[in-house]
C-alpha cells in the first residue's frame, strides 16, 4: 500500500495535500498497490481525499497533533506505517514534511528521497525517483532499495486530479507520545498565497530604484492574483520584507509563471526560481543574464512596461 500523509493547517487541507494524494494514487497504480491517506489532528473533510484517489482515509484526531512536533508526528506516522503495512510513504516537501522525512527514515530504517519532482519509475522491481540537485542545475535519479520507501514531493510537481468520490473516514489508533516542545504562537500572513505555494509570482529587483516605486509591482500582482517576491539586495536594504526574498539563500519557488522586473538574473537568484514553468523577464539591458533563463523577454524600461502589462491583463480578463 502507498500511504500519503496529507497535511492540514487549521483543519483545512492545503493544495500540497491534494497533490500528495494524487502522487500517491498514481504511484500506487504504477506498482499495482492501493492508496490510503493519513490525516493527523483537526481536519474537517478528511473523506474528501477519496476524490483524489485515496481508497481509505485514516484519521487520528488528537488535539496534540494540531501543530507540528516532528518527534511526535514521526512516531505516530511510523506506527501507522507499521500497523497498516505501507510499502511507500509520500509526504509533501514543505516545512512540515521536511521536518518529518528524515526522522521516519531512521524509525523505519528506510531509504528516502527528499523533494522529488516527478512520479517514480518502477521497472524490474527497482523503485527510483528523481529530484532537483545543485540548486536546480541538475536532476538526480535515485533508487531506493529498502522494503519501505519514503518520498517527499515538491509543490507544483503534478496537478491534483479528481478520480473518484469522497470516502468514509477510518479512525486510527496509535499511541501519541508526549511533546517536548511548547508552541508559543503561530502567525501567518493572511490574504495572499505564501510564496512557496504560489502559482503566479511577480518579482522585482534593484532596477526598481527605491521602495516607493513598488506600487506598479503590487498592482500587477493584484491584477494577476499573484504573490510578490524580490531579489536579495532589495530585502537586505529593507525595501521589501525578508519573507519575499527568493534565491539560493532565500525561498525556492516553482510557480507556473514567474515575472521578473529589474532583476539581473545572477546565478544565486536563478537557483531559487529556475524551476518555474514559465519565466518572463523585463529588463532594460538586453545583455542581462536573466534573458538566457527566460521564456519571454521584454527589453525595455520597467516603469513603462509593467503598467502596460497590468493594463493588458485587465483587458484580457474583461474579454475572457
Amino acid at each position: 500500500m502507498v500511504l500519503v500523509f496529507a497535511e492540514s493547517v487549521n483543519g483545512k487541507f492545503k493544495k500540497a495535500a491534494f497533490e500528495a494524494v494524487t502522487y500517491g494514487y498514481q504511484t500506487a497504480q504504477l506498482m499495482g498497490l492501493s492508496c490510503a491517506a493519513l490525516v493527523l489532528g483537526k481536519a474537517a473533510d478528511a473523506g474528501e481525499l477519496g476524490k483524489y484517489g485515496a481508497a481509505k482515509v485514516h484519521h487520528l484526531a488528537n488535539d496534540q497533533l494540531n501543530n507540528l512536533d516532528s518527534q511526535v508526528y514521526a512516531a505516530v506516522i511510523a506506527a501507522a506505517v507499521e500497523q497498516l503495512g505501507a510499502q511507500v510513504v509520500v509526504l509533501s516537501h514543505t516545512s512540515t514534511g521536511k521536518s518529518i522525512l528524515g526522522r521516519l527514515a531512521v524509525r523505519l530504517d528506510a531509504g528516502s528521497v527528499p523533494g522529488a519532482n516527478a512520479l517514480p519509475t518502477y521497472t524490474d522491481g527497482v523503485f527510483a525517483v528523481s529530484k532537483p540537485v545543485f540548486s536546480g542545475k541538475a536532476f538526480a535519479h535515485i533508487a531506493i532499495t529498502s522494503p519501505v520507501k519514503l518520498v517527499s514531493i515538491m509543490g507544483n510537481s503534478l496537478p491534483p486530479a479528481i478520480v473518484g468520490d469522497a470516502v468514509a473516514v477510518t479512525p486510527l489508533e496509535v499511541p501519541v507520545p508526549a511533546s517536548r516542545i511548547k508552541i508559543i504562537s503561530v502567525s501567518r500572513i493572511e490574504g495572499t498565497t505564501p510564496l512557496p505555494e504560489a502559482e503566479l509570482v511577480v518579482s522585482a529587483g534593484r532596477g526598481m530604484k527605491g521602495p516607493e516605486n513598488w506600487g506598479i509591482i503590487e498592482e500587477l500582482a493584484k491584477e494577476l492574483g499573484a504573490t510578490t517576491a524580490c531579489s536579495r539586495p532589495v530585502s537586505d536594504v529593507g525595501w521589501r520584507p525578508h519573507h519575499e526574498h527568493v534565491g539560493q539563500t532565500g525561498i525556492t519557488v516553482r510557480p507556473n509563471l514567474y515575472i521578473a522586473a529589474g532583476i539581473s538574473g545572477a546565478i544565486q537568484h536563478l537557483a531559487g526560481v529556475n524551476s518555474s514553468k514559465t519565466i518572463v523577464v523585463i529588463n532594460k539591458d538586453p545583455e542581462a543574464p536573466f534573458f538566457k533563463a527566460a521564456d519571454y523577454g521584454v527589453v525595455g524600461d520597467l516603469f513603462e512596461v509593467v503598467p502596460r502589462l497590468t493594463e493588458a491583463i485587465r483587458k484580457h480578463k474583461q474579454h475572457a
Binding site: A74, A105, H141, A143, I189, P194, V298
Partner: protein
C-alpha cells in the same frame, strides 16, 4: 554550553556542474568547494555567539575525506574551538546522520546545529535524522534563537509565516537566514585555527538504502522569445494561449 555544529562542503554556487561519462558521478575537476552557506553563515556563527555570551565550547563535525580539512579549518578560524572529521566518503544522508549520531551520542551536547539544507543535495533531511537517532526535539528553519537558562525560544519559518517555539536543551536545530550575520575570519583567527584540535575518527558501519542511478541536466531552454515593449497584449496572448499560465 556544549555546542555541536554539523558542517558540510559543497561546490560553490557559481561552479558549472558536469557529470562523468556514465552520468553517475559529479565531475569534480575544477570545482571550487566552499562550506555550505547555511552551515557557515547561520548555524556556526550563532553557535559561536552563544559560546561568547554564555561560555562553553563549539565543536564542528564533518563527515568526509581529508580534502575537507581546509573547510574545517575555516570553521575553526571563524571561531569554533575544536573539530572532528569522520573519515569516510559518505554515501547517503542516512549514513552521514548515523556517523554524526555515533560520535555525538555520549558527548552531552546541549544543542546540535545544522544548516537548513545543503545547496548541492538540497535534502534538508540530515538534521531530522540525527535528531531522531539522538532522540532529541528538532526545530527546523530557525531564523532566530535566544537562550534563557536551559530553554531556548526559537522562531521557525513556515510557509507564509512564523512559529515561535520553546524547547529545553538538549535539542537539534537547523538554521535559516536571519539566525546570524556572516563572519569573515580575521588574521588572528586564521593563525589560532592552525593550533586548534582536529580529530579524525574512523566511521561506523552502515547500510545504504539509496543510490544515484543517473544524473541528468535539465532540458535546454529554447531561446527567449522577445516581445515588443509597446505590445503587452501580445505577451498576454502568448501567456494565455501558448504557455497556458493565465
Amino acid at each position: 554550553m556544549k555546542l555541536l555544529v554539523c558542517v558540510s562542503k559543497t561546490p560553490d554556487t557559481t561552479t558549472k556542474i558536469t557529470f562523468n561519462g556514465d552520468k553517475t558521478q559529479l565531475d569534480t575537476t575544477g570545482i571550487q568547494y566552499i562550506m555550505n552557506p547555511y552551515d557557515e553563515w547561520y548555524a556556526l556563527v550563532r553557535a559561536i555567539e552563544l559560546q561568547e555570551a554564555e561560555g562553553g565550547s563549539v565543536t564542528i563535525i564533518n563527515v568526509g575525506g581529508a580534502e575537507n580539512d581546509s573547510i574545517i579549518r575555516k570553521g575553526l578560524a571563524i571561531g569554533a574551538d575544536a573539530a572532528v572529521r569522520i573519515d569516510t566518503e559518505s554515501g547517503s544522508s542516512l549514513d552521514v546522520a548515523k556517523q554524526i549520531a555515533a560520535y555525538a551520542k555520549d558527548q552531552g551536547f546541549d544543542i546540535v546545529f545544522f544548516g537548513k539544507e545543503t545547496i548541492d543535495y538540497n535534502g534538508s533531511e540530515v538534521g531530522a535524522m540525527v535528531a531522531e537517532l539522538l532522540e532529541m526535539p528538532f526545530i527546523s528553519y530557525a531564523s532566530k534563537l535566544e537562550m534563557n537558562g536551559d530553554a531556548a525560544t526559537i522562531n521557525r519559518d513556515i510557509e507564509g509565516g512564523t512559529e515561535v517555539i520553546e524547547v529545553a536543551t538538549p535539542f537539534a536545530v537547523s538554521a535559516a537566514k536571519g539566525m546570524a550575520e556572516q563572519r569573515i575570519p580575521n588574521m588572528k583567527g586564521i593563525m589560532t585555527a592552525k593550533r586548534k584540535p582536529l580529530e579524525v575518527l574512523a566511521p561506523v558501519a552502515t547500510t545504504d538504502f539509496t543510490h544515484v542511478v543517473s544524473y541528468e541536466m535539465p532540458s535546454a531552454k529554447s531561446a527567449v522569445k522577445l516581445i515588443d515593449p509597446e505590445n503587452m497584449d501580445e505577451l498576454v496572448r502568448l501567456l494565455s494561449e501558448e504557455a497556458k499560465v493565465l
